[in-house]
């Protein structure tokens, strides 16, 4: 049940990325280029998404379990530390380099855009490096 709902959610999420233009790196870079010919469209993507999610989450906060019976796993981390800052800095730099963030990159790769496949392979390598780093740190 949880997996089935996750499947539908993934489809809707992906369609949202395509409809909004987020899956097109040129469009994302047009938004990030505030000093050039700026395309503010992505503000509307973020605004629409946050509006719906904030309203939905406010209602869901009162639930004790999800429809599938799984617990509601709300994030509990609240620390603002160097790890959060450097990670976000690296992510933003990479986002600006190519115009891809994780969701759109997966959608474009699945659509068969060859450069997106290269990006996704490198992204997975970067994530695996993080996992290896964490594993070694834990000893």
């Amino acid at each position: 049940m949880a997996a089935l709902i996750a499947l539908v959610s993934g489809v809707v999420f992906g369609l949202g990325l395509i409809v909004s233009g987020m899956a097109n790196p040129a469009k994302v870079l047009g938004f990030l280029d505030i000093a050039g010919a700026w395309d503010p469209s992505l503000i509307f993507v973020m605004g629409g998404a946050v509006l719906v999610t904030a309203a939905g989450f406010a209602v869901l906060r009162r639930r004790h379990a999800s429809l599938s019976g799984e617990p509601m796993r709300w994030p509990v981390a609240s620390r603002i530390d160097a790890r959060l800052a450097t990670g976000s800095l690296a992510f933003g730099a990479g986002w600006g380099l190519a115009g891809f963030c994780p969701g759109p990159a997966l959608v474009a790769a699945a659509a068969g855009v060859p450069q997106a496949l290269i990006f996704v392979a490198a992204m997975i390598a970067g994530m695996a490096l993080f996992s290896a780093f964490e594993y070694l740190k834990r000893g």
Partner: protein, 143 residues
Amino acid sequence: MTVDWSAFTPANGAAGGLLIGAAAVLLMLGAGRIAGISGILGGLLPPERGSRWRLAFLLGLCVSPWLYTLGAALPAMVVEAGTGRLILAGLLVGAGTRFASGCTSGHGVCGLSRGSRRSFVATAIFMAAGFAMVYVLRHLVGG
């Protein structure tokens, strides 16, 4: 700053945003999970216990362009970066989002919606870094 009105698509943006929001609400309602793509993918490297929902979500994400083509032609997905830049960008995005525990979806959409200060800081930093990177590439070193 000059707005590129010819590229401006607020209605498509908002419609896509509503779908993204609906997907995030559905995943929490149905599976009790936050729709953060980097976390969902990263949790498979190596696979955490009970990761079937992760695979299902990612499968859905990957079939979405194919379902989209049943109704309309896919919009253009134009990549300007060359191979070297794509690899560097991928490594930065992959490692960076894992260190920060989130990306545009986890922090930017779900975190801001929860009123999380941590996500607000993360979003402000990655947006600023994105703006700065594009400024350097396009206006200082000339792309």
